[in-house]
Amino acid sequence: MALMLVKFDLKKRVKLAQTVWFMYWFAVMAGVLVLSMGLFFKIELRKRSELMDNNESHFLPNLLILMGIITCGINAFGGKVCYDSLDPTKFVKWKPMLKNFLVFCVCFNALLLVTAVLCFLMRIPLQFTLAEGLRNGMRFYKDTDTPGRCYMKRTLDLMQMEFRCCGNDNFRDWFEIQWVSNRYLDFSAKEVKDRIGSNVDGQYLMDGVPFSCCNPSSPRPCIQYQMTNNSAHYSYDHYTEDLNVWKRGCRDALLSYYGGMMNTIGALVVLVTMLEVAVTVGMQYVHSSLSTLANPEDPESESEGWILEKTVKETFTDIMAKMKAMGKGSKVEEGGEAAGATVS
């Protein structure tokens, strides 16, 4: 009993072939879309690779690019086969490889689904990479004279302004590191000596943040320095002050940015997978309807089309039997040779 059997006459076959051809061209564009999303994601990761310690994993965007290219390829091929299926003379050359092509398509669709799932899951390693990278980035904020790190200050400042965030978890992260370079510290001043003496590592720690943490929506000019000292500023209470600096941490901000991007890409890849499944089913119908012509010489005869020749269970047992036979076949050959050697 075939799975989802449908009867076809010539007109229906032609219509099916045309529809599937049209869908294949849609699928080619979907492949281009997947490719461009992979490229976009790769570029976005590259743009901020400094903040991720330059060891972010490019596995997912590379996979998306590869899947996009393969999708375009097989869909273009499928479209060509569909186009030729209307002409019996041209279709003859494609017939033998169609079965393998369909099996390959099924495996590819499974891979595409795995890619979509990965898009949702890769958020977690990204979280750790971002946390590590941002922490190091803040440490190197002051090293504007060290080659290789001299742009970290600008990168962090621009990122904090663009994403409206401050520090790793919140603005207090800036209190725990020295973000003013020693070049600009007067070591003969009492205040500097006090601060350096006040901690074990001899770092110049302040309760101040860089200017890029300032929130333009604040009604008062930005208070960057002596933030925990209420008496240093008129009418200021650092417990209730809300709008002065950005409250959000940059790890959260970046993670939600990339997370949103990956969720969108994952959703689109799921849609592309569904389209691919649809075209594979359509191609299977085209293939089966053209191989079961009642009268092979007459192109106008009736035929049947199906998704699977037997039921799911039977097909499964068939495949298992075939695999066992392949496994036994190699064993039988060895036994046969040994028996032949003993006989002769």
């Binding site: 600009y184 333009p216 009604p219």
Partner: protein, 363 residues
């Protein structure tokens, strides 16, 4: 003497009609492009409307939008005319409309040229408008509690960060204005009282700038306060410090931005003008060629196409005469009631093309 005569065989006429049909659809796309350009320019101007004093510069995007829409309509009509031009029964109904069409297309081309000219001519007005708008923005920076001005601080801060500029002409503009609100000044402290007394208007003036003037590319953490005091900061020299703040003024930054925008649209607008003119010329040729062919005994024979039936001078004089006749026709009517015979003789002598009902005078 006919202006720019060309011979047309039937095949050439068909080719012209097909080519013109494609060209007019291209011109429709160009009209849509001009409209979108106008919308984009208007949006960009509206985004910064808070730092502009007047809206004179808006005439440029307004004209672009109107011309874009009108161009879509006119070129669509041209494509319909092309489609009908090969059908002798349907073409004559376009006769009167085509005259109007030529006028409209010429007007559109003139408007587009005017837009290009205006975008250069209005630069001075834009600069004035920005000067006043930015000055007000800086003055009202501190008024975050005054309704109507409470967003000036945020606007100016975001503007300075986005365009990488500081102040109106440069950062010293901030030294001349009190940009810290009185709500945050401790009037009992000596420093505040000194500063307020140091100037006539009683304003709290500082040699400091807001944080949005800070340049992220500076190697050192931003120095905002006590900018002119070298001893206030370690290893700091006011005259030599370059990267600390943005050195450009916001007026210059905004002018550069808008002029770049309008200059980059210049070539696009010019090419649209060229396309529109070519549609106009081709349609005139098609009209005259098809008219000539329809007047022949054999409609599929050769005909002539031209731009103007008579020379340029003669056509202008004829147009002038027609216009005067129309004016006179309006004037003569009340006089005709008083003395129809005298007027009839005059009318008959003046304009033979008039369809005056009064009989020709025999006197």
């Amino acid at each position: 003497m006919v202006l720019l005569k060309m011979k047309f065989t039937q095949q050439r006429r068909v080719r012209l009609a097909q080519g013109l049909w494609l060209l007019s659809w291209l011109a429709v796309m160009c009209g849509a492009f001009i409209f979108c350009l106008g919308v984009y320019l208007k949006t960009e101007l509206l985004r910064r409307a808070e730092v502009m004093d007047n809206a004179e510069i808006h005439v440029v995007p307004n004209i672009l939008m109107m011309v874009g829409l009108a161009s879509i309509g006119t070129n669509w009509v041209a494509s319909r005319v092309c489609q009908d031009s090969m059908d002798a029964s349907r073409f004559p109904r376009w006769k009167v409309l085509l005259l109007v069409w030529f006028g409209a297309a010429a007007l559109l081309c003139c408007l587009l040229v005017a837009v290009v000219v205006l975008s250069y001519a209005l630069q001075g007005r834009l600069e004035e408008s920005l000067k006043v708008g930015l000055r007000n923005g800086i003055r009202f920076y501190k008024d975050t509690d005054v309704p109507g001005r409470c967003f000036q601080k945020e606007t100016i801060d975001r503007l300075q960060m986005e365009f990488r500029c500081c102040g109106n002409n440069n950062f010293k503009d901030w030294f001349e204005v009190q940009w810290v609100s009185n709500r945050y000044l401790d009037f009992t402290s000596k420093d505040v009282k000194d500063r307020i007394r140091s100037n006539v208007d009683g304003r709290y003036l500082l040699d400091s700038v807001p944080f949005s003037c800070c340049n992220p590319a500076s190697p050192r953490p931003c120095l905002q306060h006590h900018l002119t005091d070298n001893s206030a900061h370690y290893n700091y020299e006011y005259q030599a410090e370059e990267l600390n703040l943005y050195s450009r003024g916001c007026r210059q930054a905004l002018i550069d931005y808008y002029m770049d925008l309008m200059n980059s649209t210049g070539p696009g607008v010019l090419s649209v003008i060229l396309i529109q003119i070519s549609v106009l010329v081709s349609l005139r040729y098609l009209q005259t060629a098809v008219d000539g062919a329809m007047a022949l005994e054999n409609p599929e024979g050769n005909s002539e196409g031209y731009l103007l039936e008579k020379g340029l001078k003669e056509t202008l004089e004829e147009v002038k005469a027609n216009v005067l006749d129309m004016l006179k026709f309006g004037q003569v009517d009340p006089a005709a009631e008083e003395s129809p015979e005298a007027a009839g003789g005059e009318k008959a002598a003046d304009s033979p093309t008039e369809k005056a009902a009064s009989p020709p005078s025999t006197s």
